[in-house]
Amino acid sequence: MIDSFFNLDVMARVLPAIISGMWVTLGLSILVITSGTVFGLALATLRALQYRVVNWFIVFFVDAFRAIPALVILMVVFFALPYVDVQLSGLVTAWLCLSLVLAAFCEEIFWTSILSVDKGQWEAARSTGFSFLQSLRYVVLPQAMRLALPPLTNRAIAIGKSTALASVVAVPEILNQASSAQAQTANASPLTLAAIAYLAIFLPLVVMSRWVESRFAWRH
């Protein structure tokens, strides 16, 4: 068992591939989290303007990307779009799809948090001469963040973990590297190494999310 799961020889051989996979996983996660959060916040801001028709579109987008599994979206974009001559690389596909999924979740989180801020705060801010955006930026959002931060952290971690899905469209991240190394070496040690690599990245974040949750919890 040690020979097939903790084979040091095999591990040493595949370590460079796993490490390069870690960089791809990290880079893709950071890209997705940045663009997804920004887009989600932009959508929530747009929704706060309360244009009825615009809001229908936003709600439909959010619902669709919350209801359809990320892997299905990934498959549609990667395997269906080429039929209409839109050919995206695996990396771009993964970045685009995961960003859209994260944006949908973030919009919902930002929106409910903005709703939680008392209407009087808006009115007071606007009456001091702040514009809509200034009220949002300086008065409402800072208060909303307290409620938004724990679920945002959890969502960001979840989407970071789901970069493993990119292995399916041949992005050379950790899981992809480990799977091909496992096939080449006929040994499970690359998978063990991949598991350790994921833990190294995500375990600290999971522990941090516990702290965020207790720090920003609503006191009843």
């Binding site: 068992m1 097939s4 799961f5 619902d63 669709a64 919350r66 209801a67 359809i68 599994p69 990320a70 892997l71 299905v72 979206i73 498959m75 549609v76 395997f79 269906a80 039929y83 209409v84 919902e108 409910t112 948090s113 709703l115 939680s116 008392d118 409620l147 971690i157 973990k161 789901s162 970069t163 493993a164 899905l165 292995s167 399916v168 950790i174 899981l175 480990a178 799977s179 496992q182 040994n187 499970a188 998978l191 063990t192 991949a194 598991a195 994921y198 833990l199 995500f202 375990l203 974040l205 999971v206 522990v207 516990r210 609503w218």
Partner: protein
Amino acid sequence: MDRLIESFLNPEVMRTSAPYLVRGFWMTVKLCLLVIPLGVGLGLVLAALHTLQRRWLNVLLIVYVDLFRAFPPLVLLVFVYYGLPYMGIVLSPFLAVALAFMLNTSSYYGEILRAGIENIPQGQWQAARSTGLNRIDTMRFVILPQAIRSVLPDLVSNTLEVVKLTSLASVVALPELLRMARIAQGITFNPTPLVLAAGVYFLLLWPFVRLLSKMETRRIVTAT
């Protein structure tokens, strides 16, 4: 426009691929009916063990929960399906998926239920025990019903994630909805089945997403 319909919503292809998608749909339903009870059940055990308040036990529980929350479920699945055979344990795709997803989802359910139980004031325990109920009955008849109500949105949200999670089973060739759509796509040389599968997931889960939005908004309104 014609070309878009031809490729993505081709009626002919829809007809050919429908039987595949129907079979895949039932497999997805079967998977959900297996994975959700397993995850909730084990999660409940984890949360119940937490109420025993043994220090070493709580440390173990937190390690278990955090470990499986840190692993991407796909990595866990690949490990179970492609790794365990090296130990002489060969699982069918169905069992591999059940095992991997039970480990993954139970940690989330466990964490949610634990938070729910902690929401219930100590007085409820004391009152229930003083009426002569034992620990287990107290849990079952007094604490859990209130705890579950207090974390219902999280439970619904997690269950939604579990249903979506079953699509990963396609990676180990389990013939669920996504896998069958890919097969139908290969046979018809047309991506309509994929679009259809996305549509099926959407129609299936949309009511729950709406419900969840409503619940979240209500929770915010009552909390503030």
